[in-house]
Each structure stands twice: as structure tokens, then as C-alpha cells.
Symmetry: D2
């Protein structure tokens, strides 16, 4: 039996807004969101086996080369939203994730975002072909 | 005499890479860049008279609603790049800035970015029309 | 029946080390720890009913006026320590917490710390006497 | 001719309070100060030749093992204080700095602090004796 073709790989991670993430207007400072996205990638990696530790073991880095954030509504101190991360398969030697930060109670969307990562060696040289372990991972996950 | 039509308003701000902005791969963590952009907006505001203090005095907030970052090359600890911020005039009730982080010695580009800000009142309600002080500022600056 | 005299109020909060908290030496940057302590205070407040929300409702701020950190061993990316926070009752109009960051598996201590908070009004003026709600809380908790 | 015995080595570094360093009470979040101290150490190292680059070249790390902060008055957005760092010579294999953050206009003190650093190799093993380059630096600087 084969896995489904391109099942959607997604993780929802709840998080709390920290006091120090909020600016003097009483809302989360826009520059604090990359941490939420990083936490989501962590959670994704832990769930699906694609963590920094794996990259490091393979002597590959996966730097973010594009990050696009679209802020829909302000997050405030004390809120308990979730960040939803979804893997978006592409042929190129890239890792693309889409994100949404939402209120799990009523579905309000606070942020949508996308990150694009590439592969480099430890000296920072771009790898034009996806590393073997990543190709293997995609196959295992049914992502073409 | 009229000011030039749409002279390009731009500021270059030198900065140093801090130890704590660098990750364990030896390069600036991608989530640290929003601070550099904020510093550039500060420098722009100080030069051209469009600071947070002005907004606050007018009881207007100008939250970032879009931030797009394109990472071209890694910044490393000890580098002394400049961030160049340029104002991009539009008709809508928005403030748009373009950014480049470059090596002033040889012109290497490390990052290009854009932010879009809107206007809200202190309760976070969107202002559909630009505040009067902003329209006045644009006129003074020859930005149509 | 009275509550015990001065039962030790303590909370243990597990946390994960984030990629961006680690510096280029591969260890958590010393300046990242105040966030761990703040998270511990949050957890303490949530458990025992002494949160920022309560302060704000009472129009009281509780700024940190002393923070002492003693770093025993380096935390590394991927570790999953716990921060243990303990309330230390004093007569003065102060809130004192002691902290330990430990490896729950073997008891290794990574950090010990203490914070001292005072009470101010929203204009930042020091309150020489503890606010009534805080005195009441101490009594409820059996802290003299 | 000998240099003076223990001349005080000190640097004053002006800095601006950033929007994102201010919390929703309108004052600098207490956890933001370690960056100011790190900036001061950078400035000290640049002036007196004791930088991270030097440590790295010598394959020595100098982790902070104690950091004590005493907050005297709140810093606010838009303030332009200076951080004053002073070297405190000791016999032990340690680097001790004292800090003050002050308003250069009227001498108001916002923070006093101290950091203690030790020496380790790149595997994190404590060096019980000061590295030769550091002893040499102390002698050159007239610090006994």
C-alpha cells in the first residue's frame, strides 16, 4: 500500500503571548513573530522528523531566504492563540512552509506568513540539489 | 519655488552586528533583521520628521501590516553594514518603506525588504484616510 | 483550620531551548535567561493567582528592581530543562522569587537566580506599603 | 617608564532606547538591559583591544557566569542615555566589569550592574589560570 499522494502535513502549536513581546501600544511587536514561526517549524520537525538536529547530523544548514508576514489583527498580552504550520511541497531544493496564527476559539486570523528555506553546506555554499536525506523524507511522507 | 516632485527620501544608517544576534551557524539569525529595519525607520523619522513621537502626539498608531524580507547573503559577527531605507509614496493611507542592507565597502547586498504600515487610532481601529499631519508632511516633502 | 505557616510556594515549568537563544559558541546566550525567569513568574502567577492581569486590574505595576543571575553550566540547543520558581516571603513591600534551572533527569543545576520586585502606581511612583490585594493574597497563601 | 598603576579603564557609550525594548507599561523591559551591557563590553573591547575576535583567535571563550543588575529608575522610549563600563582588575582568572547607565545631561542613574566572566576552552572546560594573552593585556594596561 502506498501512502496518499501529497497528504497535507500540518501541525498546530498553541502558545501564550509573553509580557516582553508586547510593545507600548499594548500589542505584540511585529518583530516578535519570527520566533512564533520558528517554534512552529520546531514543532513540525519534532512531529515529522525534520529537525535542526537532523540537518546538523547531515552537515547541512537550511537558512531562511524569504520570510513574508501579513499581519491581520493585533495579538495582545494574555491571548492564547495557535500557530498552524503547513508544508508546501515543491520540486526545487527548497523547504516552504505556510503559517497561520489563529484564535482556536473562534477562528480569528491574526497573521498569515510564508518562509522559504534553501540548503547550504556549513560554509554557506548553496546546494542546488536537495540533500538525499530530504528527498528520502519527502518520499516517506508521500510528498512529490 | 516648488520642491522637486517626488525626490527620493532615503537614509543610510550604519550598524554593527551584535554577538547575540548571531546563531550557532555563525550568521545573523533571520529573525533579528526586523530590529535593523526598525532602527532604519527611526533614523528616517529623525531625519525627515516622521517619528513615533509625532504619531503618538497625534494619537495615531502606525502598525506594520506587511513585512517581506529577502535574504541574499549572511551577515556575520563583526561586520559593519549599512541599512538603506527609502520612502515609497502611495496614494493610499499607507506608509511603505523599501530597505537594503549592504556592505558600504563593496556594495554587496545582504537583504532587501519592504514594510507596509497603516494608520489606526489608539484602540486599533483602521483609519481609512491618511491623518492630516501625514498628508501635510507628504506635501512638505514634495511626495505626491 | 488555618493553612500551614509559610508553606513553600513553588512551580516547576519545563521549557525547550530555542535555536535563536543559542549563540555562536553553541550555548544559550546569557542575556536570554531573563525570559525563562519571566516565564516562570507567569507560571507561578497562573498557579497561585498573582498575575500581571491582577496587577493591572489593581492599577499597580510590579517592576523588577534587582535581578541576580549565577550561571553554573551552559544550556545547549535541544535541551529540555525545567525552571523552578519559589516565592520568598518578606515583610517589606517587595516580591522576591528564587529560581533554579535544572535538568529534571539528573538534577544538574544550570542557573540560580533571584529577582526583587517593588510596587508602583502607573506613573511609576513607588508604593511604600504593599497593596491591599497583595497582603490579602499573602494571608490566603499562609505567607507571613 | 612604567604606565600608571591601575589606571581606571572605562568607556562611555551613548545609546538610544528602541521602540521594541519598551514594554506595555511604557518603560524598558528589565530583560532588555543585558544587550546594553554587551554593547558596552563591545565598546570597551574595541577601545582597549580585548574583543571577542581576540578571544576566538586565542581559542578561548569568556562566558558570563554572574550578572547582577540593580534598576534605579525606568528608561523610556526616546531617551538617550549612556552606559559607562569600567574594568575592575582582580588576581583570579576572571574578567569583572562594573556598569552604570546614566543620563549624561543631569547624571541621573538608571542602572548599576556587574558582570563576571571566566575563561573556558571551546569545549566549555574552565581554565583555572588566565590565558597568556590576557595576562599580557593586563600588564600592558597597567592593571595588576
Amino acid at each position: 500500500m502506498q501512502p496518499d499522494r501529497n497528504p497535507i502535513l500540518t501541525v498546530e502549536k498553541p502558545f501564550a503571548i509573553r509580557f516582553n513581546e508586547v510593545d507600548m501600544m499594548g500589542v505584540v511587536w511585529h518583530g516578535a513573530y519570527p520566533v512564533y514561526l520558528e517554534d512552529a517549524r520546531e514543532a513540525f520537525g519534532a512531529r515529522y522528523g525534520l529537525s535542526y538536529h537532523r540537518y546538523i547530523a547531515e552537515r547541512v544548514a537550511a537558512p531562511v531566504v524569504e520570510m513574508n508576514l501579513s499581519y491581520k489583527r493585533a495579538l495582545r498580552y494574555g491571548m492564547e492563540p495557535v500557530v498552524r504550520i503547513s508544508y508546501r511541497p515543491v520540486q526545487a531544493a527548497k523547504i516552504i512552509f505556510d503559517y497561520e496564527i489563529v484564535d482556536p476559539a473562534d477562528g480569528t486570523v491574526f497573521l498569515t506568513a510564508r518562509t522559504v528555506q534553501v540548503f547550504t553546506d556549513f560554509e554557506g555554499n548553496l546546494l542546488w540539489d536537495p540533500p538525499a536525506f530530504y528527498e528520502q523524507w519527502k518520499t516517506q511522507m508521500g510528498q512529490q
